[in-house]
């Protein structure tokens, strides 16, 4: 059974989605199934995680077809870490959704699609097959697309059009890259590709393929100059949706970039430089973008872009220290961004607005909640010892070691901008006396809600805040994990061996 273990999180999510579809229109049942399922999923994932932690990289050959012929699932430390994070964020958002989503949306399939999205994320993290990755990407896109538009009014629809078009373009570029890769190597298995791509003589073609992957995944990861869909759409859907988007969607792009550039396209100086340049511009563009926004969800959206830059920078520098920084940042970012979008939802429910200009007085009205929100906000800034701080140690050190001073400047710039932006946000939303906000008629205000609904809003935020605090104060454990991931990534032979050795000894 142990060999199958890595697929259980996937299968559970799929089972949940199907089950939820059978409970169409019965929203209370859906709420319960989703939350209980997410708890179960988290428990299962923790178990799988510890299994992999103790036993090393695990692979599963779907259909018993040995690699590279079947679809291989590979759980290395990176994959399973991301699966675990997805489970954590997923549980939080599931609870948050049960409370914050209006019944109409729940009636029209919110939960099944939410779990399909989680399924897609898990699948993308676990698959060891490049075309299968494409397919997982598509399930992610279509789910997110549906989630954006569910019950969509003008803004969502507009956002969705942009979101869809650019992500579709990304998929097409990704598909083009797969076509070229298959044309060059005749293989789809990523471990096999790692071997075969290295043997291709025409390096220019390999480089072009890599560039295609870079752009295809880069759009999804929202890097400069490919990020446009993100600020245009992330603020439009309900907060629970934004939360899962903000926390996880772009990270799949980052994951794919990491995977492809650490496994298949390794050691190309041009590409690494490309990544660094892109990272720097991403840090810059996201930062300045966040600086001028008024809507808090938009602020967070731009900060997502900005912070993607850190991870790409680490990837571009491609030393063990740098990759460890990237991974640490990834871990931190998923939790914090998910939390912040839920926070924005909470603020919206409390005050009826997301505009910094209109908001205010939060601190005097809700001091304890403010303190709670302080945690994710300032974790994001990376005020030490909160979680965002630690990866910067690795990244800055790596930028000294690789002498990428522009990278260093960009890191400092982005950190600084984040600090300024969040401090400004704090001053505006929490400190300032609010102007006259007219109480909206018929608006579903937080203070009008029942006790359990309120709890549904706050509990997930508390949960993720504690996770953030753990990442910050228990940085040692996270760093050990990140280093291990980095070691595995730097030595792609580990991955290849895991895929093929298992194939040689079928059960």
């Amino acid at each position: 059974m142990t060999q199958q273990l890595i697929l259980y999180p996937l299968l559970l999510q799929l089972l949940l989605s199907i089950l939820l579809m059978f409970f169409w229109y019965r929203i209370n049942a859906q709420r319960i199934i989703s939350i209980l399922g997410s708890i179960l999923h988290l428990g299962l994932t923790i178990y799988v995680f510890s299994f992999i932690w103790n036993n090393g990289i695990q692979t599963l050959q779907a259909g018993s077809w040995e690699a590279p012929f079947g679809i291989t699932f590979v759980a290395d430390s990176l994959s399973i870490t991301l699966v675990l994070l997805t489970a954590i964020a997923g549980l939080a958002v599931s609870i948050f959704s049960a409370s914050s989503m209006i019944p109409d949306r729940l009636k029209f399939g919110y939960f099944p699609i939410f779990h399909f999205l989680l399924l897609g994320l898990n699948g993308a993290f676990l698959t060891g097959d490049i075309f299968n990755l494409y397919v997982w990407f598509e399930i992610i896109i279509i789910s997110s697309f549906v989630l954006i538009t569910l019950g969509g009014e003008k803004a969502q629809l507009e956002g969705a059009v942009k979101y869809f078009t650019l992500n579709f373009l990304a998929s097409m570029i990704f598909l083009t890259a797969i076509a070229v890769l298959y044309g060059l190597t005749g293989s789809l298995n990523m471990a096999d590709l790692a071997i075969k791509v290295a043997e291709v003589e025409n390096r220019a073609l390999v480089q072009i393929t890599a560039v295609l992957f870079l752009i295809g995944f880069g759009i999804k990861a929202a890097v400069f100059p490919l990020y446009f869909w993100l600020p245009a759409s992330y603020h439009t859907p309900p907060s629970a949706v934004s939360a899962i988007f903000g926390g996880l969607l772009t990270k799949v792009g980052v994951y794919a970039l990491i995977r492809v550039f650490s496994l298949i396209f390794v050691g190309d100086a041009f590409l690494d430089e490309m990544l660094i340049v892109i990272a720097i511009l991403t840090l810059f563009s996201g930062g300045v973008g966040a600086l001028i926004q008024n809507n808090i969800k938009k602020v967070f959206s731009y900060l997502i872009i900005c912070h993607i830059g850190y991870m790409i920078l680490g990837l571009g520098m491609f030393t063990e220290v740098a990759i460890a920084g990237t991974i640490f940042y990834l871990i931190h970012d998923i939790i914090v961004k998910t939390n912040l979008f839920m926070v924005s939802g909470l603020i919206y429910r409390i005050k009826g607005s997301s505009s910094m200009r209109a908001l205010g007085g939060f601190y005097s009205d809700y001091p304890k909640l403010s303190l709670l929100i302080f945690i994710p906000l300032f974790s994001l800034v990376g005020i030490p010892p909160l979680s965002g701080f630690w990866p910067k140690i690795s990244l800055i050190t790596a930028s000294f070691n690789t002498e990428s001073y522009w990278g260093l400047a960009a890191i400092i710039f982005a950190s600084f901008i984040t600090l300024v932006v969040i401090a400004k946000l704090w001053a505006e939303v929490f400190w300032k006396n609010p102007g006259e906000i007219r109480e909206r008629f018929k608006f579903d205000y937080f203070h009008k809600m029942g006790k359990y609904r309120k709890l549904g809003f706050v509990a997930p935020i508390v949960f993720l805040s504690f996770v953030s605090l753990y990442i910050g104060f228990g940085a040692e454990n996270i760093q050990i994990l990140s280093s291990r991931v980095a070691q595995e990534l730097m030595d792609n032979q580990l991955y290849i061996d895991a895929v093929f050795n298992n194939a040689q000894n079928p059960e």
Partner: protein, 769 residues
């Protein structure tokens, strides 16, 4: 020691949850914290004085080399005592100053966090953990400065302060990490052993710049000084604590701490002297033009910080001695003056120097405190201020090079500071009590005792310098890496140049005080220079950066989908094109290509023509029909090239798409051509380049050797192992069945999405945003 540091944090946390339950006794409980800490640190005095360095080490994040390594030496002891000692008085003072304030618990929580952070900062041996505490001081001071958070000015000051010190913080982080990678350790004590190697290191200058960046911003050196006067919006206890005794001195502390690591080089010394001198002069001059008591004090604080930086820059034993003493001097008198100012503000309701006068008649003890502090600030014997000034002059006159310039600068500064001290400590109490202040009352003892105590200490230490000589001052000098054994503090140094300078200073200063009265006119005059001040320059830069940010953001995020697509495609075309052009190996291999037959040509022609028709027709239904043609042609190509399954699927899907279009289209408006000719040409060129590159790429790949292990495996095993003969179908349901499972999920999601999109109407009140 960890407990000592964490005490503040724990107490703050405790206050968050329990603060409101014992509002009345809050002050007592709170004040116990700094007091007990003060006693705790004081108990170390004998050991430190004997030359010991107390260290303790706690694991934290060993994989980063980050631990909670603390070391208590002379330097950190001095700061610890100041932090806890003045802290205690401020706690006491606050209990009265903010009596019955709604958020008193919150205030104490901030203060406690700040105190803990400050202690951590000065005690850390590990520079990363030092940075951690450094940032915490910035953040807690952000909250303290913004304590009156409903006032816009207050928020703005808090932001400015955080912005500047935060920037410095990142500089410290960069410096720390650079030093870490240069030396392989984050322990300052260990770094000291590598001083020579560091000085010769290629990154030495860079590391120093980073450290300076942190120190100068935190200690408000020119041109980063302006956040400090702004920060005076904070409640007075905050100003006292943060801006006189502790936080602003963190930068000075940092410089001192790194003197044994990075000091003694030309770059280090010169920069510090220059920056310190500019700062002390610039802000000393500024004190002349201020009417707000706190403004005067703020600028005099900056000036004092300048002096300290300047002294560290001089780098001699004498200079360090002077610095050590001056830190004590300044802490005592400046804290006093701030507290006094706070009392005046609290009781009289104004801090305007031009109207304040004669208050001695209503609050004598406060006046005494003010007077004593002014004396000390002026360096008039027997205050310890005198000692400090003497030592400073001593060090200046013994500096290497440009002695005259240095001495002139320091003397001028001291004259102006004397003036400032008098204005703050004496002027409000002398002269005739104006009518409107007759009803001003004496504050409670909790308010006036702390400043008086501090002021008296200033005199006591002046008269008995031995009290601090070996307990506090000498260990500091030792900690800075100089031999301190020959140091002897005394008020009377004999009649020498220094004494002459002192006399000149005092005389000219007092003269200045009587000639120059602070007035709004003067203040306005300096206001005219405002546009060229660093603050407004930075404001302008910030403004322009904001404009630029908007510009940059809007250039890319301009709302037009087609521009986004253009950018992405252009990016792709440039990158791929660049690789194509840069590589001469790219050739097309004709020999591997197959023949073209007439019917294939015909199908190709209708395919391409269909595409063109789709693109250029003005009829939507025509476009849809043309897509049908394209679909058919592709279907035929699939048939020709051995893909019957594909052909079927392609055709059925195309038909379904047509149906969907048809069901949707007749509800849509006219099919307009919305873009102009030029744009169409531009897009046409871009698209064709893109398409061309893809074609070229395809032909390139075809020239590479074929490799289809996977396909062969499937073909071999399709029937034998998977019991199917249509290999494509076997792949879909078996070899790669996972793909298909997800694929049908995609379809189901799409269907749910369509259903929701068309059937669900959300009430407007529930819309997000």
């Amino acid at each position: 020691m960890l407990t000592a540091i964490l005490l503040g944090f724990l107490f703050a946390l405790f206050l968050v949850f329990a603060g409101k339950y014992f509002k009345g006794r809050l002050a007592v409980v709170s004040a116990l914290i700094p007091l007990s800490l003060f006693i705790y640190f004081a108990s170390f005095i004998p050991r430190i004085a004997s030359g010991e360095v107390v260290t303790s080490n706690y694991e934290w994040v060993p994989s980063f080399g980050v631990n909670l390594g603390f070391s208590l030496d002379g330097l950190s002891l001095l700061f610890s005592l100041m932090i806890t000692g003045i802290g205690f008085l401020v706690y006491v003072y606050t209990s009265s100053y903010l009596k019955n304030h709604q958020y008193l618990d919150r205030f104490y929580a901030y203060l406690s966090v700040f105190m803990g952070a400050m202690l951590g900062l000065v005690l850390s041996d590990n520079i990363i953990s030092m940075f951690v505490f450094w940032e915490l001081t910035s953040i807690s001071s952000f909250f303290l400065i913004g304590f009156n958070n409903t006032s816009e000015a207050s928020r703005k000051s808090a932001l400015t302060a955080l912005g500047i010190t935060g920037f410095g913080g990142f500089s410290l982080l960069a410096g720390a990490l650079l030093l870490g990678s240069m030396t392989g350790t984050y322990s300052i004590i260990e770094m000291m052993t590598m001083k020579e190697a560091l000085a010769g290191h290629e990154f030495y200058i860079l590391a120093v710049i980073f450290i300076f960046g942190a120190a100068f911003t935190k200690s408000a050196q020119f041109p980063f000084h302006f956040w400090l006067p702004g920060a005076m919006k904070a409640p007075t206890p905050v100003s006292t604590y943060l801006h006189s005794a502790t936080m602003v001195k963190a930068g000075v502390y940092l410089l001192m701490r790194f003197t044994p690591v990075l000091g003694d080089t030309n770059f280090w010394n010169t920069t510090l002297i220059v920056v310190g001198a500019i700062t002390m002069l610039y802000s000393a001059v500024h004190t002349l033009f201020r009417t707000d008591l706190k403004g005067v004090l703020a600028y005099s604080t900056i000036s004092a910080l300048g002096i300290l930086v300047f002294l560290i820059g001089l780098g001699s034993q004498g200079a360090f001695l002077a610095a050590a003493v001056f830190i004590i001097v300044h802490a005592l008198y400046k804290a006093t003056l701030f507290l006094v100012t706070g009392i005046i503000d609290h009781q009289a309701g104004t801090r305007n120097v031009t109207v304040l006068a004669g208050l001695r008649k209503v609050m004598m003890p406060v006046a005494v405190a003010g007077f004593l502090a002014a004396i000390s600030s002026a360096g008039i014997p027997p205050s310890i201020g005198f000692l400090g000034k003497e030592l400073t002059y001593e060090a200046s006159t013994h500096s290497t090079g440009m002695v005259i310039l240095i001495v002139a600068a320091i003397v001028l500064t001291k004259i102006l500071l004397l003036y400032a001290g008098f204005v703050a400590g004496i002027k409000p109490f002398t002269g005739k009590l104006p009518e409107k202040f007759t009803k001003v009352t004496m504050p409670g003892p909790l308010m006036w005792v702390p400043p008086l105590l501090l002021a008296i200490l200033g005199i006591v230490f002046g008269i008995f310098p031995s009290l601090i000589e070996s307990s506090l001052v000498k260990p500091v000098v030792t900690a800075l890496g100089k031999d301190a054994s020959d140091i002897h503090l005394a008020l009377w140094h004999g009649f020498n140049t220094v004494l002459i300078l002192s006399i000149i200073t005092i005389a000219v200063g007092i003269l200045l005080y009587f000639i120059l009265k602070p007035s709004e006119k003067l203040e306005n005059r300096i206001g005219k220079l405002e546009p060229v001040s660093p603050e407004s320059i930075l404001n302008k830069l910030t403004y322009f950066f904001g404009v630029f940010s908007k510009f940059w953001t809007n250039v890319f995020q301009n709302g037009y989908l087609r521009n986004y697509v253009t950018t992405i495609v252009l990016f792709l075309v440039i990158l791929v094109g660049y690789i194509f052009i840069g590589n001469s190996r790219l050739v097309i291999d004709h020999t591997k290509l197959s023949q073209i037959t007439a019917y294939e040509l015909a199908v190709t022609i209708i395919l391409i023509a269909g595409v063109f028709y789709t693109v250029f027709t003005r009829s939507r239904i025509g476009a849809v029909a043309a897509m049908g043609v394209v679909g058919l042609a592709i279907c035929l190509l699939f048939v020709f090239y051995s893909a019957p399954d594909l052909a079927m699927t392609q055709f059925s899907i195309d038909t379904l798409t047509v149906i969907l279009f048809v069901l949707v289209l007749y509800r849509l408006p006219k099919y307009l051509v919305l873009s102009d000719y030029k744009m169409r040409i531009r897009d046409g060129i871009l698209s064709l380049t893109f398409g061309g590159l893809i074609s070229l790429l395809a032909l390139q790949v075809l020239a590479e050797p074929v490799n289809s292990d996977v396909g062969d495996f499937y073909a071999k095993n399709a029937y034998i192992m998977a019991h199917g003969k249509n290999v494509v179908n076997v792949i879909l349901v078996d070899f790669r069945g996972t793909d298909t499972l997800i694929e049908i999920s995609v379809l189901a999601i799409a269907a749910i999405g369509v259903y929701g999109l068309l059937k669900l109407r959300v009430k407007s009140s529930d819309r997000p945003n």
